[in-house]
Subunit: 563 residues, 2 copies
């Protein structure tokens, strides 16, 4: 949606399959492949997960940033202090002290976003806690070019052997032409859990103890443990070269509060990413969930700053659009941490006939995690920006509950479908119609009566036409799908509003994918939905119920007086 | 293959369909849509043609060039003179005089490529002719944001109306969010043909006359003519704005000679693109064919310069690898000009019941042209780098002649197929295995006996393994496909050479596309092919006939002594 995925599509390692290896009944084999499943289970646009050096992701985003900011990221700068001081300047109440190359500077700002990591100064200055614990499992992680006869070295693998656990994560090709592999290796040292401990600025003795225990882990130790767990296959670094390695303990912590308001209840300071939640790297979610925090916040902040959000009902009442950042992302952080704790514990355990954890349980957990990694499993709760579909089943325009497969659900992403554009016969992805331009989109799934004048579809489009005129120009776009119709048609056969408002966003929803079936909409009835600027469904309504769309949009966007 | 198509894939206009409009029997309708056909008929990787401002293509290539040359393109430089002087320095015999910002400089070079356009100074200095003629049709071309009720304004259209001919070429979205449209408009002024005239440096009176006639064409005249031909629909520039317009006469010229040798028969000076052939812009081939000239020449020149090409049999004999540039590209230029002349004449004519040219004839011509635009219709003749398959039908490993659909044919591009990679289950395009790195590739289509030791497939792979060792390291890569096999298998079940030489280029050729059927190869027999660095098939051989592969490769690449 940001248009910055080319390098990842072209140069990352694409993981298509996940292989499960478990102890074999045949003692000579030691381990055997018990299943290979697709890496992405949901019908997302890309059928793979991509792995690539985080430095490259950062460089991609930093380069893109230069399109909007000539200065870009200011380096060599340390945050010294943050406080809220409304008395001197209530409009710019956030006072930030920072130090660039030894020179201290104080600035005032309306809002501050603390994306400053697990040891966040913003979080500490605002007095926010991180709650959670550190579990006892110690893991080694190592990046290498592998010399091995293990047959699945280019698949993501969960290997459980009598000698321990290894996770194989294939990585991208490097400039030598060789392919990197990452191994996560469970180091089965018996250690005392330092539970409920907060690693936060003033680390205590237990943390030092944990560090000491981690410090005993060596590169050779990790490699030896991996080699043991992967027997009877051999694995060693090609030409002895290891790209990088580290040891860590799994810890899961989350801040109960992601936002600090001023005395007028205006959200002023936000924390995102590792600053508000940390977990093990094993779920592959550290960077992903953190970026989604910022992505969730960005459009809301933009609407607020540009005066596009509705005014609060009264001075001193909360700013609901901004507050929904906490509602939505805190829940996801907590869910991910719960999942991570379960998954990590599972993975650190051994599986097999004699163990309690079955292959099926592990695969089930993998499916759940897949909802996070594909993004298709995230569901935000009811809030200002999610008007949940509380209709009785009999009147709801959407049937079905298999949301992971695409059934429309407020609070979840609009999943991609392939559509055929009317204007030019182009084969498109509907996701290409919702780039990150800050716009809301009304998705009109017209019904089979589209070609009749005075039909429900035609009247719905007229209502949407009037409705869109109530809001600032170009903040809302219209996307129209039509189901399989009984005859060919031309522009003159459909509501003029379609050509005027959606000439290049009017698609046949049945020619390529069966969009109506995927979204759970009956072609005879049609439906309306609003897609938020971040691609999530905000509301679903019956085709004839443009009023519900209007109600939802007025919660998010200020109206303008009609001309 | 060059890895520079992202911007075109993301931001160009993708044309998927071609609509034909012709005079209607119903006089009130005037014109009617008689057919809509796919814009790309061959099974090429991209199902569309892309249109985008030529300036952006140039910028993309210039940016990419900076990866290889710190200086990049040297601007403000005029070529003054080129001559060959072997006496003073036979190794650097090309003497070039150029002028940068008023400062004259003389340099010597081994080779010179003249990509300096229709009025090429290189061509003139070398005394090369441009043969051909200028036809009488005058065309106006105009780029605008169209305000129109013509229903196919976003499709490529050939419109033949009683009032004239218009071609509609949808173009990309511009920064205002509007979509550009290009119109080619036939201006039906009766003019005297200035046939067989060479517009080359010393233009004569006839050329002046042609210019004068063109100069009478105005923007308003072109728009009025387009509006007349598109009736009963209206078309006008939105807000009156026209982006660009011009008038031209169709001319087709080609140089009989693309290469100038020195006295030792070494190819020293080359001309490419408009410098050696010009034609009307209507076929959409000016830039495309020109770039393919350079692409054809580049790898041959690189092999020659780096000493990778075989030595000539004797001093003073021709350099066959370089000479094949002329063999291959002159034929294509001539074919394209023949096609362009036919297509332009057709298009300038009117069609309908009373005319001689039928809709079917025009569509047939469109199909032929599609071979050029998709690149799938180009076929190079027999030469050093194309060893034609002259085998009897009974022994040829390739059956079929539908080359446009993918049947392997030396001298034609290897068409894309989707394959499933063994190592990681990735769904790939085989074209991703042949990027422009200057390498030859041996494509081994293994047969159904792959899993048997001492089978034809296994022996073929052993032969290829030995064969590849005869050539400089990493100049040749191996790609292996396998057909549907009777059982699952592991690395240990196939020739060790596959994992060693093609671990990440070993694919199931039946799981996604039926590669064997597309390429015309019987899975029971298999086949070998060599793919040239530019993606063209150089030779096809039976699976057991590695000697034929060796014979071909030795014509192109120098061998090294075995260790």
């Amino acid at each position: 949606m940001l248009g910055i995925s080319d390098e990842i599509e072209n140069e990352a390692c694409h993981m298509w399959q996940f292989a499960f290896w478990n102890p074999s009944e045949d003692k000579d084999k030691i381990i055997e492949r018990t299943a290979v499943v697709p890496e992405v289970l949901a019908p997302s646009r890309f059928g793979y997960e991509a792995t690539i050096h985080q430095g490259r992701i950062e460089r991609i985003m930093e380069t893109d940033l230069l399109r909007y900011s000539e200065r870009g990221v200011l380096r060599n700068t340390r945050l010294v202090d943050v406080r809220i001081d409304e008395e001197s300047d209530p409009e710019f109440p956030v006072v930030v002290t920072m130090n660039t190359n030894g020179e201290e500077k104080v600035i005032r700002t309306k809002h501050l976003v603390g994306a400053d990591g697990a040891h966040s100064i913003v979080r500490q200055c605002m007095g926010l806690r991180l709650d959670g614990e550190s579990l006892d499992h110690i893991w080694g992680v190592i990046d290498l070019v592998a010399d091995t006869d293990f047959p699945d070295i280019r698949r993501r693998c969960a290997i459980h052997s009598p000698a321990g656990s290894v996770m194989v994560i294939p990585r991208e090709r490097i400039s030598t032409g060789a392919y990197l592999t990452r191994l996560y290796v469970h180091v089965p040292e018996t250690v005392v859990p330092d539970s409920d401990q907060v690693l936060d600025g003033n680390d205590d003795v237990k943390a030092d103890d944990a560090r000491q225990r981690r410090s005993k882990i060596t590169q050779e130790g990790i490699l030896q443990q991996a080699a043991n767990a992967m027997k009877p296959y051999y694995i060693r670094p090609k030409d002895g070269v290891v790209d990088w390695w580290a040891a860590y303990q799994i810890g899961q912590r989350v801040s109960p509060q992601f936002i600090v308001n001023d005395s007028m209840s205006v959200a002023r300071v936000f924390i995102v990413g590792d600053a508000c939640h940390t977990h093990s790297p094993k779920a592959g979610q550290g960077m992903n969930v953190s970026m989604m925090d910022s992505y969730n916040l960005a459009w809301k902040l933009m609407y607020h700053l540009n005066g596009l959000a509705p005014e609060p009902t009264a001075t001193g009442t909360p700013t609901p659009l901004l507050d929904s950042y906490q509602t939505e992302r805190h829940q996801i952080a907590q869910q991910l941490i719960d999942f991570d704790r379960k998954f990590s514990t599972m993975f650190s355990g051994k599986m097999g006939a004699t163990e309690g954890l079955t292959q099926e349980e592990f695969q089930q957990a993998f499916k759940l995690g897949n909802g996070f990694t594909s993004g298709c499993g995230v569901e935000y709760p009811e809030s200002t920006v999610v008007l949940r579909d509380d209709l009785e089943d009999s009147t709801s325009p959407v049937k079905g509950t298999d949301y992971l497969s695409g059934i429309l659900r407020p609070g979840r992403r609009l999943l991609d479908v392939r559509v055929l554009r009317h204007a030019d016969g182009a084969q498109r992805h509907i996701h290409d119609d919702i780039p990150s331009t800050g716009r809301f989109r009304i998705l009109c799934l017209a019904s089979t009566d589209l070609l009749d004048r005075q039909s429900v579809s035609a009247l719905a489009l007229d209502s949407l036409d009037r409705l869109m005129a109530e809001f600032p120009a170009s903040v809302i776009e219209l996307i129209v799908l039509h189901p399989k119709l009984h005859r060919q048609f031309e522009w003159e056969d459909v509501s003029a509003c379609i050509k005027q408002r959606a000439e290049m966003r009017f698609h046949d929803g049945s020619a390529l994918d069966d969009a109506y079936a995927i979204y759970g909409v009956d072609p005879a009835g049609g439906a309306l939905a609003v897609i938020r600027p971040d691609g999530y469904v905000g509301v679903v309504a019956r085709l004839g119920d443009a009023a519900r769309v209007e109600e939802y949009l007025k919660r998010c966007i200020r109206t303008v007086s009609r001309k």
